[in-house]
């Protein structure tokens, strides 16, 4: 079976990988010069199916749990160190509501938080620890997928190449993210902005989420132990590549609140892009003739891509139907 995959972001890469593993001949097209250079490039890389339940439907948790296996066994680039949710004393109400909507956590007091992350000792009176969650460096993950695909004999990679659905193939997977809006008019962009800080004064082993009534922020340690991704804003706005002064102040202010030692960190990167999102903020597989669009992963690209890739492969190769994703 000859399958064309358009888009080498996290969705296209995992879909191509899954199809190739199942024996399909895959041609992957990407208009950018390499894998993972669209909005995947700015992702946080938290594989946190239980935390995300705080503002998402149960299906996000169900599909997200599958990603833990994928990123730690099938393509082992993630580490399971759990994630930690904290809030300043006055925002205790936000920790309580977070705990009401999530599961699989341990409640922590200040002492316990200090045991888990020594650099946060005595900074937060309450927290939640989700021990089964993982995190990864998104750019390592997309590079590893690109490399794995390049080594497979039944995969052809075409970077810097624009493509449209072609009759030459038995099936086309449209994995273009927000660029597919002309054919998927329900899509909207939800802007996310991030920055990367570099400092030797802070050590964190796992993602830290700090709750706030208006601007929750997370910090994810990168592969380089001195680099930390701080993200991410959520703005109903479709303008990619531009970070506002307000967002930057909020991200920096929150990083400083989590750990004051970030004040002397070097800002090594600022960036942002738009998350492709449907009105219900849930992912969707859209089948039209012999084209299947996988889109709407919103803020859950790395969390949901493995499960969606597996289902997309079932649709393409076995004619499967998934009503919860395809209605």
């Amino acid at each position: 079976m000859q399958v064309q995959v358009i888009g080498a972001g996290i969705v296209g890469l995992t879909a191509a990988f899954e199809l190739a593993r199942r024996g399909a001949d895959v041609s992957l097209y990407e208009r950018r010069p390499g894998p993972g250079l669209g909005c995947s490039y700015y992702a946080g890389g938290m594989i946190s199916p239980w935390c995300e339940r705080q503002a998402a439907e149960p299906i996000v948790t169900e599909l997200g749990i599958e990603a833990l296996d994928f990123w730690t066994k099938t393509l082992p680039v993630a580490t399971i160190k759990g994630s930690l949710v904290v809030a300043p004393p006055r925002d205790r109400a936000d920790v309580v509501s977070f705990s009401k909507r999530t599961s699989e956590f341990e409640e922590c007091d200040s002492r316990r938080i200090g045991e888990i992350e020594p650099d946060l000792a005595d900074r937060f009176p309450y927290g939640l620890y989700f021990p089964r969650e993982a995190h990864l460096e998104p750019r390592d993950a997309t590079a590893a997928l690109g490399k794995a695909l390049a080594q497979l004999p039944n995969v052809t990679l075409r970077y810097s190449t624009e493509a449209t659905a072609s009759e030459k193939f038995d099936f086309t997977l449209d994995c273009r993210g927000f660029a597919a809006k002309p054919v998927l008019p329900d899509l909207r962009g939800v802007k996310g902005e991030m920055l990367v800080l570099r400092t030797k004064d802070v050590s964190l082993a796992r993602p830290i989420r700090m709750l706030h009534p208006r601007r929750p922020v997370y910090i994810v340690p990168r592969t380089d132990p001195h680099e930390f991704m701080v993200g991410a804003s959520m703005v109903e706005n479709e303008e990619p590549g531009r970070i506002t002064a307000r967002s930057m102040m909020e991200l920096l202010g929150s990083a400083y609140t989590i750990c004051p030692a970030f004040a002397e960190a070097e800002i090594v990167e600022v960036g942002g892009d738009v998350r492709p999102t449907y009105p219900d903020n849930l992912p969707r597989l859209t089948l039209r003739d012999r084209t299947l669009a996988i889109n709407g992963l919103y803020r859950h690209g790395f969390l949901l891509a493995p499960a969606l890739a597996a289902r997309a492969a079932d649709v393409v190769m076995k004619g499967a139907h998934f009503p919860e994703l395809m209605q």
Binding site: S97, R101, G189, P213, V235, N237, E239, D280, L282
Partner: protein, 266 residues
């Protein structure tokens, strides 16, 4: 009969528009626009408020979300949330008028980052500029009577005092002040805006004679936003009916006023 002017069908009239729902709903912080749309339907509200300052970006890039709002078939009350200066608020209002094709503007000039309380000086100034420019201004203010008077002088025909700080969910912090405001301005539509956390708070505002309530977080951040939206619909209707029915006066049993002589029913 109340001394508050009211139509026979009990519609609320603001700037010449008659509304049968006395609940205004904010559109931020929902888990998704789909849930927002369901919540708006469940609340039976006729007015939603939408922020533009941050969403506009450099090129009015909030378009898709704004289109979703427009498709909900309710009246849009754009707001200037996030604006801290008169100039920002005026510019945002002008953009809102173009984007949503309405003279209505919920005017917020934020004076304090933490509590988000209004800068009432900037508010009065911005209200005057916008009213002179043809806007129909809904100012987010405090319960201060002097500020209220100045807002009316600046051209506002509706006042929206806070119940408590935005997003705090603490209900009506200063019941005395809000009652004084109602008594002071019997003919001005008054809307409690901000601080409502539970349907009982909304009912209380309506029972006190407030014409409507505006809220966002209490619905958006409830465990089940759609069910909570419906609960608010019921509470607002109950509060309004109670006000029209003239609640009884509470009796102070702590200070006996009748002679104990000859009390039969001990």
């Amino acid at each position: 009969m109340k001394d508050v002017a009211r139509a026979p069908d009990d519609a609320l009239e603001v700037y010449g528009t008659r509304l049968s729902s006395r609940l205004f709903v904010g559109t931020s912080m929902y888990d998704s626009p789909a849930i927002l749309a369901d919540a708006v339907r469940a609340s039976a509200c006729e007015v939603v408020t939408v922020s533009l300052r941050r969403e506009a970006g450099g090129s009015r890039a909030g378009g898709s979300f704004w289109d979703l709002i427009k498709s909900m078939n309710v009246r849009v009350l754009p707001n200037t949330a996030g604006c801290k200066t008169v100039k920002e608020a005026v510019t945002t209002a002008q953009m809102a008028r173009e984007v949503f094709d309405t003279p209505w503007i919920k005017l917020e000039v934020i004076g304090e980052d933490d509590t988000l309380q209004p800068d009432v000086f900037g508010l009065v100034e911005a209200a005057r500029i916008l009213s002179e420019d043809g806007f129909e201004v809904f100012p987010y203010t405090t319960e201060d009577l002097v500020v209220a008077e100045k807002l009316l002088g600046a051209g506002c025909k509706v006042l929206m005092p806070w119940g408590a700080p935005i997003g705090s969910g603490r209900g009506l912090n200063n019941v005395f002040g809000l009652k004084a405001m109602r008594a002071h301005f019997p003919d001005v539509p008054l809307v409690v805006d901000a601080g409502i956390g539970a349907p009982s708070h909304a009912a209380q505002a309506l029972e006190m004679g407030y014409d409507a309530v505006l809220l966002n977080t209490a619905i958006a951040k409830a465990g089940d936003a759609v069910a909570m939206a419906h609960a608010f619909k019921l509470a607002v209707a109950a509060g309004r009916e109670a006000w029209l029915a003239t609640p009884m006066e509470p009796r102070d049993m702590a200070a006996p006023s009748t002679p104990v002589f000859g009390v039969a029913f001990r």
